[in-house]
């Protein structure tokens, strides 16, 4: 008895490992949405989700970090309960927090390209503190204005109110 293997197109070793890491990191960002700590300032609790996006950029690099965040959004759109509060579905991606969500892949890619100094992967431990801090400031700059603009465009309130709400 023989198995037909002529049509099987194997995935390369590096791509298989990177795919596994990107998928697991996407699931981790989703799992971080459930870990909430009470926030004394705002009614919305602090979750580790945005930290997960930063770590995706730092640990996986710009390409696979961005891919992990893209997978996270797609899995959530298709029904994995990975968005804030265990929600899911395409509706969340046009909902009130959509600005944050759409900016995640860009933020991870931007952070990754600063930390690794380009598209190829380097050891993140070799990056200096200033570079890491700069990358994360860039991440904040990508994520929060995106949400402010989204609130202004989507919910239809004036931009200054939106920026105040995003704070």
């Amino acid at each position: 008895m023989s198995a037909e293997t002529g049509d099987v197109e194997l995935v390369g070793d590096a791509a298989a490992s990177n795919l596994a890491r990107a998928a697991l990191f996407a699931a981790l960002i989703g799992a971080f949405a459930y870990v909430s700590f009470p926030n004394p300032v705002s009614p919305a609790p602090v979750t580790l989700q945005v930290l997960g996006v930063f770590l995706a950029g730092i640990l996986l690099g710009p390409v696979w970090g961005g891919a992990a965040c893209g997978l996270y959004l797609l899995a959530g759109a298709l029904g994995a309960p990975v968005f804030a509060g265990g929600s899911a579905g395409l509706g969340v991606l046009v909902g009130p927090t959509a600005g944050y969500l759409w900016s995640y892949p860009f933020a991870a890619a931007a952070i990754g390209s600063v930390v690794h100094g380009g598209v190829s992967l380097t050891d993140p431990k070799a990056a200096g503190l200033a570079r890491l801090v700069g990358a994360m400031v860039l991440g904040v700059v990508v994520i929060y204005p995106a949400e402010a603009l989204k609130i202004a465009a989507g919910v239809g309130i004036v931009r200054s109110d939106a920026i105040a709400a995003a704070r």
Binding site: V11, L19, A20, A23, L24, F25, G86, G89, A164
Partner: protein, 234 residues
Amino acid sequence: MLSYEPHDSLAHRLDPRAKLAVQVGFALAAFAHTTPRGLAILTALAGCVLAAARLSPIAALREARYALPFLVAGPAIAALTPGPPWIAASQAVVPALASYRVLVVLVVSVAYVRTTRVRDSRTAVQSLVPGRPGRFLGVGVALVFRFLPVLLADLSRTRTAMRARLGSERGLIDRMEIVTSAGVRRAFGRADRLGVALRARCFAWNPTLSRLRFARRDVAALCFAGGLVAWTLV
């Protein structure tokens, strides 16, 4: 937690691609017709979608509850004015319509998630996105579904262990650091084992997937989606 529930409703039997098309059409129509009349029509249509999914409106709203504070905050912030009479209801009308629009779209997406198997969603992605990118997305989405509960259990074990050792007395940043670093370490450990397992089992770009076929009822759903998109352009 929002997830698929088996049933034999009409929506369960539809092709996932037709259901995705309906969702996209719904979102486009809701953004193009954010008027009382447009939203009244969309509410009636969303009611039909829920009926097709055999899902009660209360259950659907319960799944969308996380968004409610945000949806109420938009109109509430817009209604505030700096001087007397402090609250101007007329300013809140447009944001309230925008919030309601989002709620209707969320309810329709809840119906999709409740009625579509993960495997079918994955197959839909791979048939909609051609080539290796589609396969990467299909495999990745399937792995996210598979590993989300595993990683959640990892994180909750970490938090339980921390509490048992009086870790809850630590500062907020300390606690976040412990949970995050444990979560990342375990996720990478699992990813490395998964990578080895995938290679050992001849992980291929072209696996055998469930077969999707459009039936007559899917044509009706696609016409519905097409109608919504056409209405957007009117």
